[in-house]
């Protein structure tokens, strides 16, 4: 994943959340495997955040076995709060790169996801079958250091 947000900006932003507490940051990828999905079908898969770390979501990447069938819509929601990340499912090409291409990071602002949160990813295939479909949440974990 091409880093979208400058590291110095992320550190300054984290200070608004965590103050001056010493933090340990580590890159983290949460892949969600949707497998093969027939045209127009909808599949939901969970993505669990680690219990001992907050997760800062910086962007999303997606792939299918064939870039030509990267035609599906995505919605992400927090099952705990019910909050959805978009007002409606969006064509994933608007926010994620496809097979063999650099990720197109459409995230305009990092998203804080608290530790132990349960996210749900809703995948709605378009007019063609999708094969070997993955959506990966890209970002980093934040842990406090005592």
């Amino acid at each position: 994943m091409l880093m979208q947000f400058p590291y110095s900006s992320l550190r300054a932003w984290l200070r608004t959340i965590y103050g001056d507490a010493p933090l340990m940051l580590e890159p983290w990828y949460i892949p969600v495997n949707f497998g093969d999905v027939v045209a127009s079908a909808r599949v939901s898969k969970p993505a669990q955040i680690l219990a001992n770390a907050d997760f800062i979501l910086c962007g999303v990447t997606a792939r299918c076995e064939s870039a030509s069938n990267l035609k599906f819509k995505l919605q992400i929601s927090d099952t705990g709060s019910g909050a959805q990340f978009f007002s409606a499912p969006i064509w994933v090409e608007a926010i994620a790169g496809g097979l063999n291409s650099r990720a197109s990071q459409q995230w305009v602002y990092p998203r804080f996801v608290g530790g132990n949160s349960a996210l749900m990813l809703d995948f709605t295939a378009g007019a063609v079958d999708t094969e070997g479909s993955y959506v990966t949440l890209n970002g980093f974990n934040v842990r406090g250091l005592n």
Partner: protein, 151 residues
């Protein structure tokens, strides 16, 4: 699409706009869905209503299409139904303010965020000036952040 400015500049804008208030900022996107029909010379419209308890700062846009065609040539206008205010001086090519699908690193974000108040009703209208219907399942996505204000 890479946004046109560092995300901390969004915080700076918020600090100026909401000076003295406690706020919480969260990523969000609003979606205009133009449906499954091909868009041709006839204007098609989509209306959304923003969440009532929060302002939305519009940062950037995308116009993906589900049938593989490019929506970049569509002419688009957005209107706030409450104030009657238009977002553009006239219908504007989508490619001039939004990313086409799957085009990475196009600096097509807004020059500055646009504040859209809570419970706003927005209508996006689009048509193909060539009159040749070809692009379908088009979405116009407004990417930005919600700003929750706490007194």
């Amino acid at each position: 699409m890479r946004q046109s400015f560092d995300f901390l500049e969004i915080d700076r804008y918020i600090a100026e706009m909401y000076a003295g208030k406690r706020v919480s900022v969260e990523q969000y996107a609003y979606v205009f869905d133009f449906g499954s029909s091909e868009i041709g010379a006839t204007v098609v419209a989509s209306t959304i209503k923003t969440n009532s308890n929060v302002d939305f700062l519009w940062i950037s846009s995308a116009t993906p299409a589900g049938n593989g065609s490019s929506a970049g040539n569509l002419l688009v206008q957005i209107q706030d139904q409450g104030s009657g205010q238009y977002f553009f001086a006239d219908y504007t090519p989508a490619s001039d303010f939004a990313s086409e699908q799957n085009t990475a690193f196009t600096d097509n974000g807004n020059a500055v965020p646009r504040k859209i108040g809570g419970a706003s009703t927005l209508t996006a209208s689009a048509y193909d000036p060539s009159g040749i219907a070809g692009v379908a399942n088009v979405q116009l996505i407004l990417f930005g952040v919600h700003v929750y204000v706490y007194d």
